[in-house]
């Protein structure tokens, strides 16, 4: 049965959980379809993740390969389509714990970067899994800075081949997923040399292992890069190339080609490719970043109403830890952020869909804005969600530290998202560059993209709020965010100008302003997130109490942001110190309000127990029994204690000399 402490929380919901779930899914029909897919996957023992916390790197890898292979069978059996909506739910349900995910990146790069003939040759082989592909870009010495890659591809006109080399240790490909043990082929990025001239980084298709016995091809050294913080199921690999030859036709040549005589020809626009890169950043957010935060909130909040510790009042029963203000202050802002980011994700997808249509129509005007958006939001969403998951982990006390809580693996996985698809600081500085450009343009009276028009309209002023309830009016807090973002951007621009005018070289001036610029970019994205939350709430259906609770969450998200960045807001002068007291009071008042709906709000995320895989977060709240059952299943209790005979016994019997 359900733990009564959890059941009572559900009775008190102020809104319909089912309707909120449908709203998050984008309609009741999608909820139905998602649940059908999840059920089919979770009921198949091949896909069970029950024992993953007990498995070694080798076992995790093998299970992930097994799942990847069986999934192909399952998809056929169920009549799902590889391109349909179901696929999205399948991968979401598997939480990425599956091998061969780079194979899809391999295929996408061929279809985006390959000529028609190349697509016709390679795609059928890949879709039917006669080959398994990986994607090798990052090297030991280079990640962020692609122009700095050191792998070379030298054209040999005599044989009509490229000769690929990783000339030094730092040039070795390092990190590509599925490379270490699985892949037979890879797209490899290398500096192209023709007749001694370097043409920059280009992609090549390279066979790395034999299709007969899977052994590395001559000149290829390939292997696994060793244990990581997580992703133990993935064989991230290294690849060392010594005079490996590929035919001329293996350079992916949608945009450029080396002709038989060595003439280098470039054609078409690479801008569409640029668009692909930016859209990948956005596509990881939902499943890899926002949903893990939702899971962490679900686990921590359910556990916090089951866990009782100490007494709030003498003589009473021990209190649920969620009734402590300090616990609410840790968890509820994370819950609000999970919703805020869910909505910003929807917003970004709409923006990209519109952008994609423009680009199809050969209109590339929106690209800079899209690029700035994808960079900035990838950075702030991954950063916030990562710290949110860690806060949830630590809010669960000692039991959060057990792998059985599910939280450590959520954390060690999401943390990688701050680095992959662009290191966050680097990305924020790209957004800052865009903002500075827009600010300059706006100052000169030129038109700017709609998302940044506030840069020219913001005027300094004083907030008219008089009491704490005024800060539940989005107009007031939105204005505060707008002022702050606008001020940080304009003062960074001024500083930059000042340095340049006083004779500092431009690159050095930029470096000297980067701490400030990074802050400005964050403030901009934070503002847009709050603004979008407000607009989303306005559009929500007013029935079944959903709009009301979402409004509370939106207020909490906004006020928590002000409370946590007081210095920046006070500095603006728009808010006074007296206002800050009101904001703090208003923010703290919201905590007990949202506290009442905390469990229904995480229930609405609709995670199954299997997908949470957490002793602390299960729907029935039988926390302690599940922890105990989990511990007893641990190999440490199932497989005897080899250390006793080898070490402990001699120790206890004073026969240490035998060690």
């Amino acid at each position: 049965g359900v733990n009564p402490d959890l059941a009572s929380e559900r009775l008190a919901a102020s809104f319909s959980v089912e309707l909120l779930t449908a709203s998050l899914d984008g309609g009741a029909e999608r909820t139905r379809m998602r649940r059908a897919v999840v059920e089919a996957i979770e009921n198949d023992p091949v896909f069970s993740q029950e024992n993953q916390y007990f498995q070694s790197q080798n076992e995790r890898y093998e299970a992930a390969v097994k799942r990847a292979v069986y999934l192909q069978k399952k998809i056929r059996e169920m009549g799902w389509s590889e391109t349909g909506t179901e696929v999205q739910y399948i991968y979401r349900c598997l939480s990425g714990d599956i091998a061969l995910s780079l194979h899809r990146v391999f295929m996408r790069s061929i279809s985006v970067l390959g000529s028609d003939e190349q697509i016709a040759k390679w795609m059928p082989l890949a879709t039917s899994y006669q080959i398994i592909g990986s994607y090798a870009q990052t090297e030991l010495g280079h990640g962020t800075y692609l122009q700095g890659l050191e792998t070379t591809a030298v054209f040999d006109a005599a044989t009509q081949e490229f000769i690929l080399n990783t000339p030094k240790i730092s040039a070795m490909k390092w990190w590509p997923g599925d490379m270490g043990r699985s892949a037979t082929h890879s797209v490899v990025f290398a500096q192209l040399y023709v007749h001694g001239k370097c043409y920059g980084v280009h992609p090549f298709i390279l066979q790395i292992r034999s299709l007969q016995d899977h052994s590395p091809r001559p000149g290829v050294t390939v292997g696994d890069i060793g244990p990581k913080m997580n992703f133990q199921h993935a064989d991230n690999g290294f690849l060392r190339l010594q005079n490996v030859r590929v035919p001329r036709e293996n350079m992916l040549s949608k945009f450029c080609e080396v002709q038989p005589d060595g003439t280098y020809v470039r054609w078409g626009s690479q801008k569409i490719n640029y668009f692909t890169m930016t859209s990948v950043r956005i596509s990881v957010l939902s499943d890899e970043v926002i949903r893990p935060l939702m899971k962490a909130c679900t686990i921590a909040i359910r556990y916090s109403v089951v866990r009782r510790q100490s007494k709030l009042k003498p003589g009473e029963q021990e209190a649920k830890i969620l009734d402590y203000q300090t616990q609410q202050q840790k968890l509820l802002p994370q819950l609000a952020a999970a919703y805020a980011f869910h909505f910003i994700n929807t917003y970004l997808h709409e923006l990209f869909n519109r952008g994609y249509q423009d680009i199809q129509g050969k209109n590339f005007d929106s690209l800079p804005e899209l690029h700035a958006f994808s960079s900035g939001f990838k950075a702030i969403v991954t950063q916030h969600c990562t710290s949110g998951v860690e806060i949830c982990l630590r809010a669960c006390g000692g039991h959060g530290y057990s792998l059985l809580s599910g939280l450590p693996s959520l954390y060690t996985k999401i943390i990688a998202s701050c680095i992959y698809e662009g290191e966050n600081t680097v990305l924020l500085l790209q957004t800052a560059r865009f903002l500075i450009k827009c600010f300059m343009a706006a100052s000169a009276g030129q038109p700017v993209p709609p998302s940044v028009t506030y840069l020219s309209s913001a005027k300094p002023g004083k907030c008219p709020a008089k009491n704490k309830s005024d800060f539940l009016n989005p107009e007031f807090y939105l204005k505060a965010y707008e002022q702050m973002a606008s001020r940080l951007i304009s003062s960074s621009a001024a500083k930059l100008q000042h340095l340049i005018q006083s004779g500092v070289e431009e690159y050095e001036a930029w470096n000297q302003c980067t701490v400030q610029l990074e802050r400005a970019a964050k403030a901009h994205c934070h503002y847009i997130t709050v603004k979008n939350f407000v607009e989303t709430v306005e559009k929500l259906d007013n029935k079944a109490g959903i709009q009301k609770i979402m409004k509370h969450l939106c207020d909490l998200f906004a006020l928590h942001g002000i409370f946590s960045n007081m210095g920046d807001f006070l500095y603006d002068g728009y808010l006074t110190t007296a206002h800050m007291d009101l904001v703090t009071a208003s923010y703290l008042d919201l905590l007990p309000v949202i506290r009442k709906d905390a469990v229904p709000l995480v229930d609405a995320f609709d995670f199954t127990d299997k997908s949470l895989n957490s002793a602390l977060g299960s729907y029935d709240g039988q926390v302690y029994q599940r922890l105990y059952d989990g511990a007893r299943r641990s190999p440490t209790n199932q497989q005897g204690n080899p250390a006793y005979g080898k070490y402990l016994k001699p120790l206890l019997q004073n026969k240490l000399s035998k060690l």
């Binding site: 093998e62 292979v69 696994d224 244990p227 000692g398 105990y628 120790l651």
Partner: protein
Amino acid sequence: AAAMVMNADLRRERAAATFQPELLTHVLDGGAERTRRRREIEALIANDPDFQHEDFSFLSRSQRYGQAIRKSALMVMKLREYGIADPDEIYLFKSFVHHGRPEPLDLHLGMFLPTLLTQATPEQQDRFFMPAWNLEIIGTYAQTEMGHGSHVRGLETTATYDPATQEFILNSPTVTSIKWWPGGLGKTSNHAIVLAQLYTLGQCKGLHAFIVPIRELGTHKPLPGITVGDIGPKFGYDEIDNGYLKMDNFRIPRENMLMKYAQVEPDGTYVKPLSDKLTYGTMVFIRAHIVGDAARALSRSCTIAIRYSAVRHQSELKAGEPEPQVLDYQTQQYKLFPLLGAAYAFHFVGTYIRDTYRRISADIIEGDLSELPELHALTAGLKAFCSWIANAGIEECRMACGGHGYSRCSGLPDIYVTFTPSCTYEGENTVMMLQTARFLIKSYMQVGSGQRVTGTVSYLNDLPRQHIQPQHVAARPVTVLVNDPVSLVEAYKARAAWLVEAAAKNLQAELNRRKNKDDAWNVTSVDLVRATDAHCHYVVVKLFTAKLSEINNAAVRAVMTDLCLLFALHGISKNAGDFLQAGILTNTQVNQVNQHVKELLAIIRPNAVALVDAFDYSDSYLGSVLGRYDGNVYETMFEWAKKSPLNQTEVHESFHKYLKPMLSKL
């Protein structure tokens, strides 16, 4: 592997330093002689083939546990062989043997033996202490249960006295009462000191400690009535068999209750203990230790991240020029240097608490406990303050190393997972902050009622001024000079005073409104945590600043002054809201602070590598490919990866099982 030469970048960095790291190392160790002795002890272990082992990153949990047990057993033997008996030296020896990781005998050495010493009667010491000392008995300390950690009084395990047989009957009556987490319990120990609610003659007498045999000597099998095992995999602590213990009508003789203080007589009569304040002392000691752990974990992380940032080159600052060291980027300096400052600050704080504790230990033995409450309150807050910053700081360092920081070869994931539980154990951090807050509020009330307070809270004595002037006490102008650490200490002091006062007033307002002091306390707890945070921050800045004048060498003092300034100013910049709201700083001054932070980054940059070299971690202790002293990062990473378990065969077995059928099916 061939001997590698020093990476050229690191060589240049070291040549350009303005001070001798060796002299700073002496400051950290507390004198040149202590540095020498520390190195001597480390050499004993480094040169001992018995202590060599494979890289733990490649071992399974069971193998890691086995290796740790092996080394612990040898460690105990060799400590005696070398005649090392000083507690500090034992600690050094142990941490070198285990590379700063926990080990399965920690609870035996750190809790079981000391508890016997302090709480056992002479008769009990005869029975248990020498066998435990000789490791015929291995014990652990079983307090935490599945359902109770922070709230010790809520523990559910019972020990019911049976006068008929003169035994205690131990029971774990519910699932939540199962003992959970004790280190060394799962597989290693054959005895445990168990905390249980004592029942005698039908009455509950509260928590008491009992010596419980749990495994049969000779076979190591659990005794009848005992269910014991490992609690399963964790985030870190792979070497430790944290365990569970369930007891069903398990009987132990009356003489197994630790009876130096409280006693149960044969007929069941309960004799009360005299005082329980002494347990404060142990807690102070352990929490001081955690501050030291925070300093070590953070300084190791900074060493790794800063050396790697000097070796790693990426992108271009200026078109056409070679790729710069990533340490030349302002954003990278901004991530790492304030943490470097914190690592030094925490080191000095840890030393201060330890020394103060030692100073007043003599008083404690004499029965003078007057200084203990403040030290106790202070260490609770500092434990939380320092461990939170270190916890976040380790992660910041790891992320500053980009993708390679994520690899276990960087050593950073291991440092993180080993350190992060200290935010929870020995007092959950939020609970600790609130304990300190209780002391701060109490002191504030004392001042309000006309008493003077002493020690770190003496700034509250200035408060009565508010009765004359209607403004906040902290609003009196502080002249803040951004170049003077002493002046910054004053600014932090004013902020602490302001936040303590604000919390006290809010608490009072809630009391007036609700009349229930527990509710009022709960709805003020966010303010109270902020007040403690500000108080601790003040103490840390103050101790760091005070340390500067003790440094004799001018060059070392100069660089430490820069670092102290950076630490203090960065803290102001990050908490500018408080300083602005309290009227301690103006907008213009906040601007100066932000500006000066950036200037200091550039000033510290040339000394960054020397500053981490001064921590004097050996490569073996550091355990990091990225943080190697010689900077040969990439070569070593490749060698390391080749040893990965997935690489043990050229073609992995899953190829034959799954991939081959799939590849060839069509």
